[in-house]
Amino acid sequence: MNNDQPEWLKQALRGDQEAFGLLVDTYQRPVYNLCYRMLGDTGEAEDAAQETFWRAYQHGSRYDFDRPFMTWLLAIAAHYCIDQQRKKHLPSFSIDLMVEEMLPDPTPGPEKSTSKKEEANLLQKVLAQLKSEDRAVIILRYWYEMSEDEIAQTLSTTTSAVKSRLHRARLMIAQQYKVPEAILASGGNSYEPSTL
C-alpha cells in the first residue's frame, strides 16, 4: 500500500462519510471540469460529478492505493460521461453554421472579454463535435496534462490507441477551430508554437 496517501483519503475509501465529504471538497473541481468538458452542459456535468463521487464511495474498497487517486476518480468520471454520450446519441448539426455564429471577434478593447468568452464557447462546441472517446483523450491531455500512458491507464485502453485518438482529435479540432481571417492571413504569427 502506498503510504503517501493522506489518512483521510484512506478513511474516506473505507466508508467514513465525514472523510468522504473532505474528499468531495478536495476533488470536486477537477471532476466537475472533466464532466463539463465532456458533456458541455452545467446541469448534466453536476449530475455526472455527483454520480462519480457516489460510484467512488460505493466502490472505494476496489481502489488500488498504488495508483494515483486522481487518475482513478477521473477514470470513473470519464467512463460515466462516455456512457452517457453513447446513450444520448446526440443529433449531429452543421459545425460550419455553428462556428460562423461563434466566430471570435478580432476587435481589441472593451469587447475583448466577450471575445474571450466566445472563443471559449467555440472551443467547447468544437470539442462537442469529437467522438466521446477522442474528446476524453484531448481533455485529459490538455487540461490534466496527462501523458499518453496515463491516459491509456485512465481510459482502460492501449497507448497506441491513445496516440491514434489524439491525432484524429487534433486534426478535427484544427479543421474546425476557426480563427479570425487576419490571423490566418498572417500565417498564425500571433500564436507562439509550443513544439516548433
Binding site: V24, Q28, R29, Y32, L123, A174, G188
Partner: protein, 190 residues
C-alpha cells in the same frame, strides 16, 4: 502535394529537431492547407491551455451529502422490497414444488382425500378447543375481559402506529440537519 510527415510534426507533442523544424517551416510557407491547420491548431491549443478548470456552483459538497442521504434511504427501501419479494417467491416456489410432489406421488383421488381430511382435522381441532376453552372463559369475571381487551387493543394500536411510522420514516421523511451532521454532513455551504 504530400502533407506527410509535416502534418504529423505539426500535431506532435514532442520537440522537433532543427531539421524537422526547418522542413515544416518551408512546407508551411508553400502549402496553404498545412498553414491553416498549423495556425488553427496552435490557436486551439493556446485556448485549451488558457481555459483553466470550470468550477461547480457553490454548495457542491452539501448537495453531494444530501444526495448521499437520499441514496442511502433509496437503497434501504430497495433492500426491503427485495427481501419481501424474495420471501414471497420462496413461499410460491415451495407451494409449487409441494403441489407437484404431492400430485406426482399420489393419485388425484388420494390428493383430494388428503385435502378434505386436513380440513376435517382442523374443524375437529377447533371444536375440541371450544369444548376445553369456553367453559374456562365463562368462569372468568367480566373485569378480566375488559383488562384483556384493553391490553390487546392498546398493543395492536401501538404496533400499528410504530409500523406506520417506520414506513413513513423510510419512505417520505427527509433527514434533519442533526441527523445529517451525525452522518458527517456539513451545514449548507450557500
Amino acid at each position: 502535394m504530400s502533407h506527410q510527415p509535416y502534418e504529423e510534426w505539426i500535431f506532435s507533442d514532442e520537440s522537433l529537431t532543427p531539421q524537422q523544424y526547418e522542413a515544416v517551416r518551408e512546407h508551411v510557407e508553400k502549402c496553404k492547407q498545412c498553414r491553416q491547420l498549423q495556425t488553427r491548431w496552435q490557436a486551439a491549443q493556446l485556448q485549451m491551455k488558457t481555459e483553466g478548470f470550470v468550477s461547480p456552483a457553490p454548495g457542491f459538497t452539501s448537495r453531494w451529502q444530501s444526495s448521499l442521504a437520499e441514496r442511502h434511504a433509496h437503497q434501504q427501501k430497495q433492500s426491503a422490497r427485495r427481501l419481501v419479494l424474495f420471501l414471497i417467491g420462496l413461499a410460491m416456489i415451495t407451494l409449487v414444488f409441494w403441489t407437484i410432489y404431492t400430485v406426482t406421488t399420489t393419485s388425484l383421488s388420494d390428493f383430494l382425500a388428503m385435502i378434505f381430511a386436513t380440513a376435517a382435522r382442523f374443524i375437529i381441532f377447533y371444536q375440541e378447543f371450544k369444548l376445553i376453552v369456553l367453559p374456562v372463559i365463562f368462569r372468568v369475571p367480566p373485569i378480566v375481559y375488559l383488562i384483556a381487551w384493553t391490553i390487546t387493543l392498546g398493543t395492536t394500536m401501538f404496533l400499528a402506529v410504530v409500523w406506520g411510522g417506520a414506513i413513513w420514516h423510510f419512505s417520505f421523511r427527509k433527514p434533519k440537519s442533526g441527523e445529517l451532521a451525525r452522518e458527517g454532513v456539513k451545514p449548507n455551504e450557500n
